[in-house]
Subunit: 306 residues, 2 copies
């Protein structure tokens, strides 16, 4: 199963009016930020969540049992938000170790939060069982076709918003976003995946020739800490020749600080990771190269910004 540009165009029609068309900020003649941090619930994730739920609804597969997901982070927030907007219940499975603040925020979105096990894998397993035992719809954090296609709508927006661009820098966790963007615009632009050295799922997948389990940690792990690149993302990045770059923790911290100091954008560490590749010199554009940096999330505690 692969995701096509047509799937993404369909997704864009499907989710129109449900998501924010996030603006772009041109910061230099050759550099533009895509302000996806301003999306509903603070990250790009509602694009995929709405596409998954609405596609299921079209097929009659969205029942009164609602939806199930496993995530204490941005994906969980997005599923809870999309479910509430569409009037179906959401059960979100998180580990017992999930921070109280994240659980509280899920509950403000009317989600039923289920705390299971000591780590994500156990919560995910419980979510799968819950779906098997009911008519609820499982929403994966990144590795379902509707999720990847939904995230790819960000690429279509860039085409509409910009006169042209050569390169897109995108942070990578499980790969839903970069898989979608590469499929959307990879024929016309260079798509570069940027990851923390401590969470290199794309990098290791390219090295190994397939997605492999990776030890993940570091400062951006709350949003980029998937253990393994999604198989759909892997197919897309290979098909489009996506490049992979790593940045260290200091580069991510510096990029996040600079985005606040110079632009008053309060992003999460994962949301600063793509910009870190530019600031640190890990990615060095040609003089006339038109670069887009996707600022993909802002679910951060901003108290350490000043």
């Amino acid at each position: 199963m692969t995701v096509t540009r047509q799937d993404i165009e369909l997704a864009a029609e499907r989710i129109a009016g449900r998501i924010r068309r996030t603006p772009v900020l041109q910061v230099l003649p050759t550099l533009t930020f895509k302000l996806e941090l301003l999306q509903h619930v603070g990250s790009f994730k509602p694009r995929g969540a709405f596409n998954r739920l609405l596609a299921a609804k079209e097929e009659g597969a969205l029942s009164g049992q609602g939806v199930v997901a496993a995530s204490g982070g941005n994906a969980g927030l997005a599923v809870a938000y999309a479910a509430r907007e569409l009037g179906v219940p959401a059960r979100i499975f998180v580990p017992e170790t999930a921070p109280a603040a994240k659980i509280a925020r899920l509950r403000t979105l009317d989600a039923d939060v289920m705390q299971v096990g000591s780590e994500y894998a156990e919560a995910y397993a419980a979510a799968v069982v819950a779906c098997e035992e009911s008519d609820a719809l499982l929403v994966h954090a990144y590795d379902q076709p509707e999720i990847v296609a939904g995230q790819g709508t960000l690429g279509l927006e860039l085409e509409e918003q910009l006169a042209g661009f050569d390169t897109v820098l995108v942070a990578v966790g499980g790969g839903g976003l970069i898989g979608g963007i590469a499929t959307a615009v990879g024929d016309q632009a260079r798509v570069v995946g940027v990851e923390p050295e401590l969470a290199p799922t794309l990098h290791r997948a390219i090295e190994a020739g397939q997605p492999v389990d990776v030890q993940v940690g570091g400062i951006a792990a709350d949003s980029l800490g998937a253990r393994r690149l999604g198989s759909l993302a892997y197919q897309a990045v290979v098909a489009q020749g996506v490049q992979s770059l790593l940045v260290d923790e200091d580069a991510i911290i510096a990029a996040r600080q600079e985005l606040w100091q110079d632009y008053r954008l309060a992003v999460e560490h994962g949301g600063a990771t793509a910009h870190a590749a530019l600031l640190s010199g890990a990615y060095r554009p040609e003089p006339e190269e038109r670069v887009v940096v996707v600022l993909c999330g802002a679910n951060t505690t901003p108290s350490d910004l000043t």
Copy 2:
């Protein structure tokens, strides 16, 4: 002396490439935010500062003595930034009571910070004397034609960025921004000034039939705490029939919190004041009325947002 729409069009040409064309975010079919908080140095003020400096440069009135301003806030930052970009020195006068953080930030912009007196009026008087004793250019925080015209370029941008709009909500301190916006778009849209109850310079000026000194205080006083509406702003708001609304402290705090919680926009209290009019019901648009809220500044400590 009055400011005209033509002055604003000239200002837009003059400052093009120096300021950021800040994006708009459509949040509802009838509601758009103008994200001016993303402007250089975190507020709309560089629009006017660049216009003042570049107009003086055209007339040969920008000497090696540079520029002088009195402000420990957004206006001072903007003058320091514009001067540095144009390669002239900036002397910024602030009261001896100015917070160390503000002085430090001015110095990072290479400004020469002069601490004089215990309040703003004394710093301002010293700035005027400094200009009289040298060839330096005085840059007022709001009441000079080039300043008002520069701030008005925000209105021209709205015309270009939006298919149409009925109403613009703008926070008011000294009135440079609302004076410029009213002159730019007042013929085609309703312009509404929003002020804290504790800093009602526009409100009192309209009541009195002229600008009058006002006691100012409250949570937004760091950005909206001018004591008296500018005379140029007064002429503009009267000519365009600008409405004046007041909001209380709780409404400003709630609006600032909502902008972070729902949009991940970290604004200063003054930057949230226009939005407070909508949230509190002080301004109630008609069902189809297309409203623009100008989010005009983000020089805030974001630590209290979560």
